[in-house]
């Protein structure tokens, strides 16, 4: 990381890490219930059993959460987490817990931007200006 992340970045990173791992653990506890969040149209698209799909998601959540905790490749992890959360929003649709996923997604976006190396930030800003 080129920039100097401040305390708020680390607080957000650790909080997000705990959330991601804990969600993964809770999915392992009761995968059937979590699989029910997958919309029917997605079930038709994905050839894999919904429970297996959600268990794969749990493993992914735990890996992402652990990497956040130990601050390993933070911008890559935050980007993957954001894409993952956007995927969840699409797959589960709008329901009573959507607002929490939006909160988590904005948190991962903040982590991504804060941990993105300066050279990448400059490149992105340059591209935005030229386009």
């Amino acid at each position: 990381m080129d920039g100097k992340p401040n305390a708020s970045y680390h607080i957000l990173r650790v909080g997000m890490g705990i959330t991601f791992i804990w969600i993964g653990v809770l999915i392992f506890r009761d995968p059937q219930t979590w699989a029910a969040f997958i919309n029917p149209w997605v079930r038709e698209l994905i050839p894999i059993d919904p429970v297996q799909t959600i268990l794969g998601t749990a493993v992914f959540d735990i890996i992402l959460g652990f990497m956040m905790l130990i601050n390993l490749l933070p911008w890559v992890v935050a980007l993957l987490a954001t894409v993952h959360l956007v995927g969840i929003l699409i797959v589960s649709g709008i329901n009573e817990i959507t607002v929490r996923d939006i909160g988590l997604a904005t948190g991962t976006i903040a982590l991504f931007w804060q941990s993105l190396p300066e050279r990448h930030k400059t490149m992105l800003k340059h591209k935005a200006k030229t386009s």
Binding site: H10, V14, I18, I21, W22, V25, F28, R29, L69, N71
Partner: protein
């Protein structure tokens, strides 16, 4: 929040903290010392390792193990009696180690290290959860 979630959260805080200290040590950088200023004196003293292993690595292993065990309790996988005994043994051992390290900071090094005290507090809270559970963490699973 349930007690198991709290135990898990404390272990996760411990992982983040010890990972930070390991990262700083490998990079030969001075860790941020938010309160006081004795972190360096303590972390670079001859008491920074036990059994030939750096305390930060021992702590990291301990916190990862607690995280995994509390996760296994939640998922209800494996021999919960064995996990319970293992958890009590590990947290008990770490609590004793924390007390020894507090004594070393107080009487021998005569400097206080913020991160070491945070870790001691984390272990102390874990011990408190286990005591409150009546030394039966497995029983907490049903209350989740």
């Amino acid at each position: 929040m349930t007690s198991l979630a709290l135990l898990f959260t404390l272990a996760a805080f411990g992982i983040a903290e010890t990972a930070y200290l390991i990262e700083k040590r490998y990079a030969s950088e001075k860790p941020v010392c938010p309160i006081g200023g004795g972190c360096r004196a303590v972390l670079e003293s001859k008491y920074n390792r036990m059994f030939g292993v750096h305390n930060d690595i021992l702590g990291f292993g301990f916190y990862v193990a607690v995280c995994i065990i509390s996760g296994l309790f939640v998922v209800q996988v494996g021999p919960t009696d064995l996990w319970n005994k293992l958890l009590i043994l590990m947290v008990g051992g770490s609590a004793i180690m924390s007390l020894v390290l507090i004594f070393i900071q107080w009487k021998i090094v005569k400097h206080w290290c913020f991160w070491c005290l945070m870790s001691s507090l984390t272990v102390g809270l874990m011990a408190l959860i286990i005591i409150i559970s009546g030394f039966d963490v497995a029983a907490l699973t049903s209350r989740i």
